[in-house]
Subunit: 233 residues, 8 copies
């Protein structure tokens, strides 16, 4: 059964063409550890199908190389998110808005990755930035927006306590993203990761350190299902 | 605003009575580190509101003490899940079924905790047990059920690879629960936790080691929203 | 200079008699790793000076052995705090009240150790229990008391976020005590410890896991200095 | 209540203007992870209120960019402390002197951060440098100054034993700062951190690795309260 | 007995000339931590015996320096594998093919090191690249090749689950190589390492992170023995 | 293809009946985390096929319960190995002998698990016990036997150096098993594990801490292939 | 050469009889992980040579079993040190005294192991107990004795700072033994171990956590060489 | 007593002038974390006393700056050891030779630091390089030299097993230095450190990762005492 799913073997990569069909995903390239040549070849293979393409953790040099091929005039580079985006078909916008909340300004790059990922999948997003627990009044100002959401992404480094606090204030699922922001005993995100894992608030689940992409994909999956209604109904 | 939410101060505990209202939760007691006397007092305070009550990680002795009070004739003890359950109002059953999948037989206690938690919140569940990646044919037999679900709980110890494999086979969110099953370099669940965190499959989020309760709450939140439709629509 | 400070050499211990003079401390015995015989001999040596004596982390058996000597009729045992207390001279009570705040009911034993330690040193204390960040409204009810304090002890296990939140709400020093309450990736207090260390709130310092004693001593030192006024003025 | 506290939303940051009022703090920017443009905008927002401004962990390039705006002629850069300082109102000097003690010469940058932080908050400080435990006679020469202090900051890397030794010699609170100085099994400050955490001396509390800023804020909070006398008296 | 084995003392290195005889190995230089001068001298000493020489983890500069000596015209540099290869005697090709399987494209450098190592020892290899568990259908397409092998090398970073899955599908030994590919909680290969170690599939053994060389040597040892038949028969 | 492999669903376990066919394995039960009732039911299901059955990490109580069923008169219990063995068909003995080498006497239980596992799969074994590197002359006495083997299992706790030393003395694959023997900084086998992982000797691969079972299965797979000759020849 | 050294193969142990000859050691049995039967057999084998025998980490039950054999009337049990001692030949006492210094009373069991080990090897010892760095005046009282020693053993748990302080006060080698005394972030001795490793004082070397035996053997080796004079002179 | 020891306060450093007197040490500067200006000032202060001066972990730039002062014409730079050496008085050479043994060529920089340190303190040394346990015959060739030594330094990275093996072959103290040589799970020296710590061979003590300096100081202390004879005799 699985063996008839479409993919293309480039030698150094098995490019998978059924995910966009199956999950409404863009085609995605995770850039680190791949050469510019490999990325361009995978990009070409993916773009040829007419789908949206997203390349994450891309250096400016990668985009430069891609631009020099002059093949993808519609592709653009989001610097803060370190993402290359080729939007070949516009998805209909979500009804509800996905809040992306950060504890500090330094968490912005991860939030930006989450934002471009969610948006290319059709989500409307709102960035609420720098509302960490050391000054709760900043968060409370945004509470009505949070309580209206179907799902929320919370991004925090250092002590990562924001996810627990938000989780205790809302009744929807919260996807927590620890970030590597911090120093000393933050241990490159480990402290925030453990805090989020041990959250006393129900409804909080966690993704890998700095993984804005994965948080956005999961949030989108959830929101789409909600807006579409249950498979069983 | 927050200050007018109802709670009761027992001296050793602030019993919170608005969560059941806000989230459709049962009232919940996490037992470890509390004396039997404390648990019984909190139980009484919660039950008095007429809601469902769930006590997790409860030793048989805790239930024994509770039973001896002769106040909660409807409460019963689920041994495998180590949970005390008092169902005072039956919630309407969910339309869709929540699959709870385990890698091995030894992961059953965590699955049982997830099962009683989801069920007291009205979810219909199905346990699919002992289908770890070392024998994939056992998993594939259950694939149709998995692909019909709105959300899936995957529970695995040792190398924890099952969450990634399931995540790659379905298009709904997967909530992964690492377990402390294993020995040697499994480091009491750390190995499974890291595996799940680094999952290459999109849509996989993770909760704390052995935390079947939290996985069930989140899965229920998601499924309820899906069956209810979006807040915004 | 240092060499003329008084101590007594019991062979297995150098009992230090100048600390009570120098710091207004009770004489203190940390019990783990000592035999009952050793503890009793040290207790006798300390009590003979007429000062207050505190034995921490003492099992009931230790107190039983001590009671059987029939030498310290005024000594009593605090079960929750696991402490033996011999109050031979009552210190004048502090003017201000020291709040001891816990995130959960399971943190009570550590809070109890902090409480008996602070009280034998003359501090008036108030226990505010079970006000963790998953339900902030419980904490906010106690805010006026917290904002009046000279120094606050915050005790939390699991994700330990309460210290940051309190630190952001008050303008006095906060002494944070991580506890070993939790399971899975709480790693016996490590998660709470790291959270507290990485607190974004200023004025938060941290002591060892479960070390209610040390938090109480430091809080008392600070409060005494405040109530006495500066050495320099 | 909290919601009426003043802040300014710059999009990428929620600038908090009530802390200086509430705590007598300077306005503070933690620079890492922020772009030069963001830092300048936050700096402008903070300076506009007429308060003192402190930017920590600032590279020389950050100050260069700030200087090029020609808006803050009074701002200067402390190279060793990596801090930008804008002192718009001079606070009255503290009566007592705050000793800042380091184990080695390599701990100086952390001590310098503590020093500029304490001084902009009005503290008089004295740096006692390179008096680690491998040559105790160097420390003992400074003992009279230490024993006169209301609170002491001790900064040490490598084995971090200095905090325990100082804690045993004085009767005031000691704030310990582990540093990332060292190599091999110092594990970037972890060794010093653990040593300080396990200090047998009472009155020692710990802040994050290399966090001279936080130590200085806490020490200032304590000293101010002492010099002001108790809130309750 | 051991003392009569041949080696050459270069002062900074004891060059061992009996391994090629004993194990059918090439002479091998592990380059990191050695100066170019040292590497060239060891290379000369090894090449002088007429055997094949392999230098692993070699920067291009090392090969450049070697080439400038003009002594080894047959040596060439494999960029992806970071290896210098001097094949002075061609070994007869193995009868069976050694599959080298990777989870992702980013694992290619490690696979390349394994490939050149196995090939200079006479193994015929086949690279099967980018068939990680998030898209199992890509792996299944190659299953017949895997089931025909005498031994398989599986290379994976991130969650490292591929080794378990392959181990469950074949009946020959699997040598698993964790890679440092990944970010955040992959902890530079630790996550993949632990996953592979805790594999539930029998027949899976593990080598050091990124150690393609060692995996290839072991796989070759096994395959040679199989093709040669038992020593005892 | 995979979906037609035979298994039996007991509710709490998917009993897999094709492994014995596919790999010449006994049917195996890993006991920890399973109730006696579950183990007996799985045992019955496996034994009914007429194959050999091995239950590992079994307490004496498990065997006692099994014996009380009076269904498996031929099953016996190996105390040191903590294994229950039911040998229903005797496999032909291997031509070569598999050496199982331990560093210390305390490593014997792991060696015993390896021994019963290998023997029920038809391997002839020889135990060489207590020949750790602190007294190399003990090892050298057994060198001829080691150099004749097709594959060797080396079991060591504490510093685990024996695997490297043996790997340097032989030309066949070495399967290294770290054990949890030791104390202090052996960290329950982690020290031995890391040592073996970083072995400089080629041909050494590693299995999980205390995993004598897995080492024996892999060694048997290798030896069988060698004695059978290559699939391709 | 090595192969002619005497040993005895008991099956489960290779008893080594040349160490006593080579190093002036007693014959030594490390008990954990060995059965009583094994320990008795090894003890018999060792005692038969007429040398002194030392069994370390022995439970009282082990000695009980040994006593019941009625074969070693001169063997006695040191409870605190958990050691069985059979002194068959008395060694001449050392000229100098070996100081064994502990930070706390709880470190006594490790000190006792060091003491019995050193004494059976002929060393005169002096125990200086409970002189940790939180009260340096207790240590300074013993300074003359320390400065006269040829080598010193320092034993400390918790923060382990005593080794650095002693190392800075004397000019002879210091052997540091971290102990597992402590709680919370002492991590069973890891904190003390790291502190000692990062000691700024020269001449300090470290042995495994709680390893009083090894410290005593090394100290004895050093002192013997000093008292005997150089091999070369 | 201690307070009359000579030192010089440079503001950023307390230069200690009694160590050379007390321990026969050179004056030593540990360079990392100090500015060139600070190093030069300390160097001047030390050199002015006429003693030997050693600056460790010095970059070439440090030496360049020092040379440009034209004040220390006799100072020279040892590149491999990264040390600056000013020998103002030649110590008499030791009678015995100190062997410095390394497992690999990559351990040479640490060995070089040990060598220059020991030599400036008057020790005659012999470097035995690249004799790791994967080829024991290389080590055995040097055994007679090792067995003649009073004390031996063993330096090894990766698995670090060499210290145990040497410790089992000689009867003098062995000082083990783990190095950060290796990759993957060597964790920058942690693997070697743990191996050495858990050594089964008696007489092995350990210093910090890469700390050739400290090993040389301790070895010199021991050898000097041996050649001088006991203080007590």
């Amino acid at each position: 059964m699985l063996r008839h799913l479409p993919f293309e073997d480039l030698g150094f990569a098995h490019v998978d063409h059924h995910r966009p069909i199956r999950q409404g995903f863009p085609e995605v390239i995770y850039c680190p550890g791949k050469t510019n040549e490999q990325i361009i070849k995978i990009f070409e293979s993916l773009a040829a199908k007419g789908n949206n393409v997203l390349a994450t953790r891309a250096n400016p040099e990668v985009f430069q190389s891609l631009a020099e091929t002059a093949k993808f005039s519609k592709a653009h580079y989001e610097q803060l998110a370190r993402a290359i985006i080729l939007e070949q078909k516009k998805l209909p916008p979500s009804k509800s808005v996905l809040p992306i909340v950060t504890a500090g300004t330094s968490d912005l790059p991860v939030a930006a990755e989450a934002k471009v990922t969610a948006e290319i999948m059709g989500q409307r997003t709102e960035l609420i930035c720098d509302v960490g627990v050391a000054g709760l009044h900043r968060l409370f100002d945004h509470l009505p927006k949070l309580q209206k959401a179907n799902v929320i992404i919370v991004i925090a480094g250092m002590e990562g306590a924001l996810a627990s606090v938000v989780g205790g204030l809302v009744s929807c699922p919260v996807i927590a993203v620890p970030t590597s922001v911090g120093y000393g005993s933050s241990f490159e995100g480990l402290s925030a990761l453990l805090t989020m894992f041990n959250s006393c608030a129900s409804g909080v689940t966690v993704v890998n350190i700095d993984n804005g992409f994965s948080a956005a994909v999961t949030a989108t999956l959830i929101n789409r299902e909600i807006e579409a209604g249950s498979k069983k109904s």
